[in-house]
C-alpha cells in the first residue's frame, strides 16, 4: 500500500513532482514465534519503504511484536493531542492457544498493517520520532527500549533485506 502525500501544510511552495513527494509505507509480514515453551511471543517482519531523509535508506526491515505498536500508539496519543490517533484494537485476554492460532495472528497482522500505515500517511504523525524508532532501530536497541515489565527472554535476530 503506497501512500502519496501532499507536501507541507498550507505552504505556498510550488507543488513537487510525484517522484520527490515524501512517502512512507510499511508492510507487516511473516510472523515468527520467539521464546520457548513457557514464554513465547509472536514477532512480525516490518518492512519500511520511504524516501524521507530522516530514515536510514530507502528500505529497511526490522522485527517487532504487537506490544511495540501498542506502546507507539500510547506515545502518539500523549504527544499529539488534538490529532485523532487510531484507537487501540482491543488487547484480547484469551487463552494462550488462541494467541498462537494462525487466524489470530493473521488478524493481528492485518490490524497492525492498517494501523501503522494510517500513522505513516498522516502528514504530522509521519514525522514522529517514536514512529521512526519503531520502524528503524536495530533489535538490540529495541530490546532495551521496551518497558522493564516486558522483559522477554527471547533469542532475537536482525533481519536482512534480500
Amino acid at each position: 500500500m503506497i501512500s502519496t502525500q501532499q507536501s507541507g501544510s498550507g505552504s505556498s511552495q510550488s507543488p513537487r513532482s510525484p517522484s520527490t513527494q515524501p512517502f512512507l509505507s510499511v508492510s507487516i509480514t511473516d510472523p515468527i514465534k520467539l521464546g520457548n515453551n513457557v514464554q513465547a511471543y509472536i514477532f512480525y517482519h516490518v518492512i519500511t519503504k520511504t524516501n524521507l531523509p530522516e530514515y536510514q535508506g530507502q528500505e529497511k526491515i526490522v522485527i517487532r511484536c504487537y506490544n511495540d505498536f501498542v506502546c507507539l500508539r500510547d506515545r502518539l496519543f500523549e504527544k499529539y493531542k488534538g490529532i485523532f490517533v487510531s484507537p487501540r484494537s482491543s488487547k484480547k485476554e484469551c487463552w494462550r492457544e488462541v494467541h498462537f492460532s494462525a487466524e489470530f495472528i493473521k488478524m493481528r497482522r492485518q490490524a497492525l498493517d492498517i494501523f501503522v500505515n494510517k500513522i505513516a500517511s498522516h502528514h504530522e504523525l509521519q514525522q514522529s520520532e517514536d514512529l521512526r524508532t519503531l520502524l528503524q532501530v536495530d533489535e538490540e536497541t529495541m530490546e532495551k527500549a521496551r518497558p522493564l515489565e516486558e522483559i522477554m527472554n527471547i533469542l532475537t535476530f536482525i533481519a536482512i533485506l534480500k
Binding site: I32, N36, A40, E140, L155, I160
Partner: protein, 301 residues
Amino acid sequence: MNYLIGAFKPSCNISITFADGKSRKQVPIKKENGQTVMVPLFQSQENISGKISIEPLQGKKVEHNGVKIELLGQIEMYFDRGNFYDFTSLVRELDVPGEIYERKTYPFEFSTVEMPYETYNGVNVRLRYVLKVTISRGYGGSIVEYQDFVVRNYTPPPEINTSIKMEVGIEDCLHIEFEYNKSKYHLKDVIIGKIYFLLVRIKIKNMDLEIRRRESTGSGANTHVETETLAKFELMDGAPVRGESIPIRLFLSPYELTPTHRNINNKFSVKYYLNLVLVDEEDRRYFKQQEITVYRLPETS
C-alpha cells in the same frame, strides 16, 4: 603545585600528605590532562588523615581569611561538564584568618568516613573522591589545591548464586539452551557454561560471547545510555548440529570490568550483560542478552 595561569605567579606551595602514605596501597588514575598518577586507595568507613603544608614562595607572606580542608564525593555528568554534584561533603577548618610567613603545617583527620559508592570513571559520568584545601582570600582570589584518592568497596561472596539456565529459540529455525554457572561473578572470576543445540535448521557459521557494559545516566525521559562491548570471545567456529554442546570458559580478569552499580545516588547505573551471538551463512545475527551482576571480592593480600 598549584598554578595560576597568566601574569600572577603562585604565592605559595600547598602539599597534602596522608598519614599512612608509605604503607597504603596506591592505584593509578588518569587525570583530566591525560597524565596517570598514583593515588592512595581507601574503602568506606576508613579514617582519612594526614597533613597539609603551606609554604609561601619568594619570601612573600600569604594573608588569608581562613584555611580549610574538605573531603568531597562528587558525581560529574559529562553533558553537564564542570557541574559537580556533591553527594558527600565534609569540612575541617584548619586556621582562622591570619598570615603565613613561613612554612606552616596543619594536621587533618576525617574519621570513619561513609563512602558508600566506589570511584567510577565512565563514558558519560564519573564519580570521584577528592580532598580540597582552600586558602580563602578576598581580593587575590582563593588558593585551592586538590588531592584525588580512590575508593573501592568490597562484597563478600554471595550466599546464593544461582546458575542461569534458559531455553530460547525461533520456532522451526533454531532452538538453544544456554547455561552460565552463576548469576553473580566477581572481577577475577571465570564464566563456565555451555550452549546446547536443540534444533538447528539454519547454517550457522560462528558463535561468540560478548561482555557488554551499559552505562545509563539521568532518569525517565532524560535517560542516556552508553553501551560498550568490552570483550568478544569466539565460542565456536563452524556449523553445529542438533544435540551438540559447546563449552564456555571465559576468564574475566583481562577485561576492564567494574562492579555493577545500581542507581547510584539516583544519577547513574552501570550494568553488565553477556550477549550470545550466532551468525548464519547469510550474515544474519541471532542474539540473546543476559544480565549478570559483577561484584568486587575482598583482596587477599
